[in-house]
Symmetry: C2
């Protein structure tokens, strides 16, 4: 079975992504980041999810993006609640986060000789982050094949796989349910309480709740 | 003065790069990585060098590339000595290292609103690493401007600056000497002894010694 590196946050999207990659017969090597995020409870969700899928190779990579600041997700800046205005790229954007995550995934893929890197970015029901768009992903893939031994020598071309990129949140949920995903195990909220209960009011909760409503399914997550 | 992020390893190339960026009137923010390299003594060299240039903002970023292995520089695999055969990409290559380093620099540049990222890659007297070539750097720059807020909004275009890329090692040394670089403060060896003395036989030492010989100058570094 072909190997793939998969970025797993423990949220709705990356968990659906994992179910999809497993259904496509990949041997998945999962990678999660402890990057100083205020919602570090998502790491426990990632562990739960990878255990559910019997992933034997799951690394938690420690990088401290608080060194730089610059985001509500890695600092004391308040996470916006019930945001209705379209203000462009919001304060929850973490500078270059997907670029950093993909770069670690690329290193691991090169060592594993895995040709596929799965990332659960979504450019439809998303928060307006620049590093979730198809043109960014295409540019990353092109760079990756110039950066690596296997890309240059032609022995291991890298593909950045984004099967969720053009689906609505409701379509992602429907895909996941068709694959048997247990969304109770997942964690999406940017600002959960100490027990891990979701706030219900940040952008991530809004997108999730809207997705479940449109899919006509009750969200099994625990809310404050 | 414009801001720049500069990747500083404390070696010959990045120290010359720093002298060059300072001479070009950039306010330099230096970034060094403790990534599990066996030659961690280079971090002390980076600290010496940034102090010599009065860099007030110098971050040491901790990332552990030993999680993956895959290189003689981050594992117990022996560093090759007195290599004369051209075997393509050598075992000292660290998978995706420059991609990871540049990605952290990109995050910091975005937060600082610095438009320039300096990296001391060299495609002439180099070890054959894929992530040192001009086509890789161009692809990285293109990706970076699709990844970031400032790149997308046009308020902070990112330039990856590689002023050393087409110079021989001797030319780099001559440039540095013309800028007053003290090469005794720098550290190039992949496999120094406990005191920090260079081995004189790894690829990095060979390239350095050849460069000084061609420049007609004695290398002030300490060798075993």
């Amino acid at each position: 079975m072909p190997r793939a590196v998969l970025l797993l946050s423990g949220g709705l999207d990356s968990t659906t992504l994992l179910a999809h990659a497993v259904s496509e017969q990949f041997t998945v090597h999962a990678m999660t980041f402890r990057y100083g995020q205020r919602h570090a409870v998502e790491i426990e969700a990632a562990r739960r999810v990878s255990a559910l899928y019997g992933i034997s190779d799951h690394v938690i990579v420690d990088i401290d993006l608080r060194t730089f600041g610059g985001s509500a997700l890695t600092s004391d800046v308040a996470v916006p609640k019930d945001r209705h205005d379209d203000v462009g790229i919001p304060i929850t954007y973490v500078p270059a986060r997907n670029t950093i995550f993909l770069s670690f995934a690329l290193a691991w893929a090169e060592i594993l000789e895995a040709g596929d890197i799965f990332i659960g970015v979504n450019a439809l029901d998303y928060s307006g982050y620049p590093d979730c768009r198809p043109e960014y992903i295409a540019a990353y893939e092109r760079m990756a094949n110039l950066a690596t031994r296997g890309g240059v020598e032609g022995t291991n071309r890298i593909r950045i796989r984004t099967p969720l990129i053009d689906r609505t949140k409701a379509q992602i949920i429907q895909l996941g349910l068709s694959l048997g995903v247990d969304y109770a195990a997942t964690q999406s909220c940017y600002d959960p309480d100490a027990s891990g209960a979701a706030c219900g009011h940040c952008d991530a909760c809004h997108l999730r709740l809207k997705g479940f409503a449109e899919a006509g399914v009750k969200d099994p997550a625990r809310y404050v």
